[in-house]
């Protein structure tokens, strides 16, 4: 399954006329965007205009990678984004500004996909949902998976009138059309900003079911990630931990999943405000 690199923080994706292909030769001008810039401001503040919130870096208004004015629909989100910019030291570490990235993606829509396309992409993850693929050995791992993952699937099936069953094979289980339609309808009820967060959560957790559990607050971000990493954590406990690999990745994903969860909850039910932004 091809995973599109969708949420590239502050990176101008060069789109060819015939599809979303990133050019492999990075032109000299683009390399500027790849380096971390120096911190060029002292004070960060937020201001409200037309019911939306903007970020001020000294006297300058923050803009998105595409040059659009950076505006978010709610104050808590603006405060959190402002804090990201405020916490930068000498260099601006763009990769660590997860909420800013999510907002940029929501505003710019760099891959130019429609809401329906995004929903399709998110739903397709269900075919390869981590929680659905079980091992039958070693038995301790199989038991861990049953004990930790079955309740989540059960909850998901009850809550979303779905019929998901785990498998020990390698072939994706077929999902009932009705289930897919139900879930599609549910995803359609969210606004475009929430979908950006949902897609990010699904990608990071490698599971639509876990992402939904996070959205419904059944689990917190760190727990969701630990559930996603169940097998990996089991192997690591057995064979040893490589700090510069496992821990680094876990820390990054923990931040990513937390940012996605926070972002989603901060833009849920703000559909009216968000619609005003695009009109």
């Amino acid at each position: 399954m091809v995973f599109q690199k969708l949420l590239i923080p502050n990176f101008r994706t060069v789109l060819s006329r015939h599809g979303n292909q990133v050019q492999h030769q990075v032109p000299i001008q683009m390399k500027r965007f790849l380096k971390d810039p120096k911190k060029f401001y002292k004070n960060v503040s937020i201001s409200k205009a037309d019911g939306l919130f903007e970020i001020n870096l000294d006297k300058n208004k923050l803009k998105t990678p595409f040059g659009t004015l950076f505006r978010v629909p709610t104050e808590p989100l603006a405060v959190a984004v402002a804090t990201e910019w405020d916490s930068q030291k000498e260099m601006i570490k763009k990769h660590s500004m997860y909420l800013t990235s999510l907002c940029n993606t929501a505003i710019d829509n760099p891959t130019e996909r429609s809401k329906e396309t995004v929903i399709q992409s998110v739903l397709r993850f269900l075919e390869t949902d981590t929680l659905c693929f079980r091992l039958d050995e070693p038995p301790e791992l199989a038991e861990l998976q049953t004990n930790h993952w079955d309740p989540v699937i059960q909850w998901f099936n009850d809550r979303y009138s779905a019929d998901i069953k785990p498998t020990t094979g390698i072939i994706s289980p077929t999902i009932a059309e009705e289930t897919l339609e139900n879930l599609k309808g549910h995803l359609r009820s969210h606004n475009e900003w929430a979908l950006v967060g949902i897609e990010s959560a699904v990608h990071s957790l490698k599971s639509l079911i876990l992402a939904f559990a996070l959205i419904d607050r059944r689990v917190d971000p760190e727990t969701a990630l630990k559930l996603s990493w169940l097998e990996l954590e089991f192997q690591v406990a057995k064979w040893g931990r490589v700090e510069w690999s496992h821990d680094v990745e876990f820390a990054d994903l923990k931040a990513r999943v937390s940012a996605a969860g926070l972002f989603i909850h901060m833009v849920l039910e703000k559909t009216e405000t968000i619609q005003k932004m695009t009109s």
């Binding site: 405020d86 917190d220 760190e222 700090e243 680094v248 994903l253 923990k254 937390s258 909850h265």
Partner: protein, 110 residues
């Protein structure tokens, strides 16, 4: 769902950890000056009422607080680990050691 004292205690623990994390945002100045700090305190204060009706609001606040805490922790841990394990160019001494050589002793200064 009844408002339980345990949930209240956890909320306070999360708050304490959050304030600790916020100290790293602008080391040197008090976290109390940060917008984020003021916003979080405001949220916590307005959810102090212990009644069944606002239980859901408290659950939502706690979930947001936990999420923000793990966000800040994740960022800081990631950066710390990156710093620790990032590569650097070998010193002259290390390069020499690779092939079993040692740097000659430099003469003593008078």
């Amino acid at each position: 769902m009844m408002a339980s004292p345990v949930a209240g205690r956890e909320a306070l623990l999360v708050l304490r950890s959050l304030i600790k994390e916020l100290r790293y945002v602008k080391p040197g100045s008090s976290p109390r000056n940060l917008m984020a700090y003021q916003h979080i305190m405001e949220q916590y204060r307005s959810n102090q009422v212990t009644s069944e009706k606002v239980c859901r609001a408290r659950e939502e606040l706690l979930h947001k607080a936990r999420s923000y805490l793990s966000l800040l922790q994740g960022i800081r841990e990631h950066e710390a680990l990156n710093q620790e394990y990032k590569g650097r160019e070998r010193t002259l001494e290390e390069s020499a050691n690779l092939v079993g050589l040692r740097l000659p002793k430099s003469p003593e200064k008078d």
